[in-house]
Amino acid sequence: MADFPNSVLFCCDHNAVRSPMAEALMKKFYGQRAYVQSAGVRNDMEVDGFSIAVCREMGLELERHRSRSFEEMQTWGDDLSQFDLVVALSPGSQKAALDLTRFYHLAVEYWPILDPTAIGEGREAKLAAYRQARDQIRDRMLARFGSPSAGTDA
C-alpha cells in the first residue's frame, strides 16, 4: 500500500480501551511493517477486564498494557516526532492530536470508534459493546491499511 506508514500512534481519551485495542490489532495484522504505540489524552484509567476478554477472543494480549498519556510518553522518552501518523479514535483525542501538530510534523486521521465503557448493563451486554468497538477498529484498519501481512495468522 502506497501510504502505509512507518510509524503509527493510536490515541483515545484514556489509553485504556480503544487505543490499546488498536495498537494490539495493528501489531497482529501488520507485524514489523510499522512501529506502533498508543496513548491517551490523559491517564486516569487502566485496561479493564472487558477489553482484555474481547481481545483474547482474537488472540491479542492486553494484560500487560500500561496506560499512558501523551505527556507521559514524552517524559518517558518516546519521542512524538518519530511518528508519521496519529490515528485519533475519539473527538477529544483528535483535538489533542491536532494540538501536537504545533510542535511535530504529523498526519492526523480521525476514526470514530464507539466508546463501549458506559454501554450495556451486565456482563454479556458489556462484552457485546466492547466487541463492537474492537470490530469497528478492525474493519477500519483493514480498509485503511489493506490485507494483513503475509505470514501472520490474522
Binding site: 473527538p91 477529544g92 483528535q94 483535538k95 491536532l98 494540538d99 470514530p112 470508534i113 464507539l114 458506559a118
Partner: protein, 194 residues
C-alpha cells in the same frame, strides 16, 4: 434537521458552561455513529469559552450586531446574545453543529440566525486547530477586517494561530475539550489586526 435535533436532545445532556446552557457529549452519547466529521460542536473548546467569558464580563457586544464565525456549539454567539447583543448570527459549515446551535439558542431563550447579514463585530472562537481550516478561515477574516469590522479571536495557542497578526486583549483560564475536568488552560482573546 429535525432528526438531528432529536438525536441531540436524546443523546446529549444540557450543561451550563461559562453561563451558557449547551448540549454536551457524555460517555453514553455514542457520537461515533455520526461518521467521519469530528463532532466538535458537542464540546466546548478553550477559545470559545474564553470569548464567551470575555463578552459576558466586558459587555462589549451590547447593542452590537454580532457574527459568531466557526460557531460550533454556538457558545460565543449565545453568550453575546445574553450580554445584550442586538442581533446574533452564526456561520458554521457542519449541519450537526447548526442543529445544535438552534437547540442551544432555544435553551438559553435567545435567537441566533444563519445567513449573510451586516454585522458590527465578528467573534471567532478556536478555529486555528488545523492548517487546513486556518487556510480557509484567514481570507474570510481578512475580508471582514478590510471592511472595517473588528475581529476578535479566542485561542489557547493552537498550531495555526496567526500570531504576528494578533494583539492580546485579555486572557482567561478556561477548560478545554478533552482535558481532565479540573484542568484549566490560559487562553487569549485577541484583536485580529488588518
Amino acid at each position: 434537521m429535525r432528526d438531528r435535533a432529536a438525536f441531540i436532545t436524546r443523546n446529549l445532556t444540557l450543561q451550563t458552561v461559562e453561563g451558557v446552557a449547551l448540549y454536551q457529549a457524555h460517555a453514553r452519547s455514542r457520537l461515533s455513529r455520526l461518521g467521519d466529521v469530528p463532532p466538535y460542536w458537542a464540546y466546548v473548546w478553550a477559545g470559545g469559552a474564553a470569548l464567551a467569558r470575555h463578552v459576558t464580563e466586558t459587555g462589549m457586544a451590547r447593542g452590537q450586531r454580532v457574527l459568531d464565525f466557526g460557531a460550533g456549539s454556538g457558545i460565543v454567539g449565545i453568550a453575546a446574545a445574553k450580554a445584550g447583543a442586538a442581533e446574533v448570527w452564526a456561520d458554521e459549515p457542519d449541519p450537526w453543529a447548526r442543529a445544535a446551535i438552534g437547540l442551544n439558542a432555544a435553551a438559553n431563550a435567545v435567537a441566533v440566525g444563519f445567513g449573510a447579514a451586516p454585522v458590527d463585530l465578528l467573534l471567532c472562537g478556536d478555529v486555528f486547530y488545523s492548517a487546513d481550516v486556518a487556510a480557509t478561515v484567514l481570507p474570510v477574516l481578512d475580508d471582514w477586517r478590510a471592511r472595517g469590522i473588528p475581529v476578535l479571536i479566542g485561542d489557547p495557542g493552537r498550531a495555526a494561530l496567526p500570531r504576528t497578526r494578533l494583539h492580546l486583549v485579555a486572557e482567561y483560564s478556561v477548560h478545554d475539550m478533552g482535558d481532565a475536568p479540573d484542568k484549566l488552560t490560559m487562553t487569549g482573546v485577541y484583536d485580529y489586526q488588518p
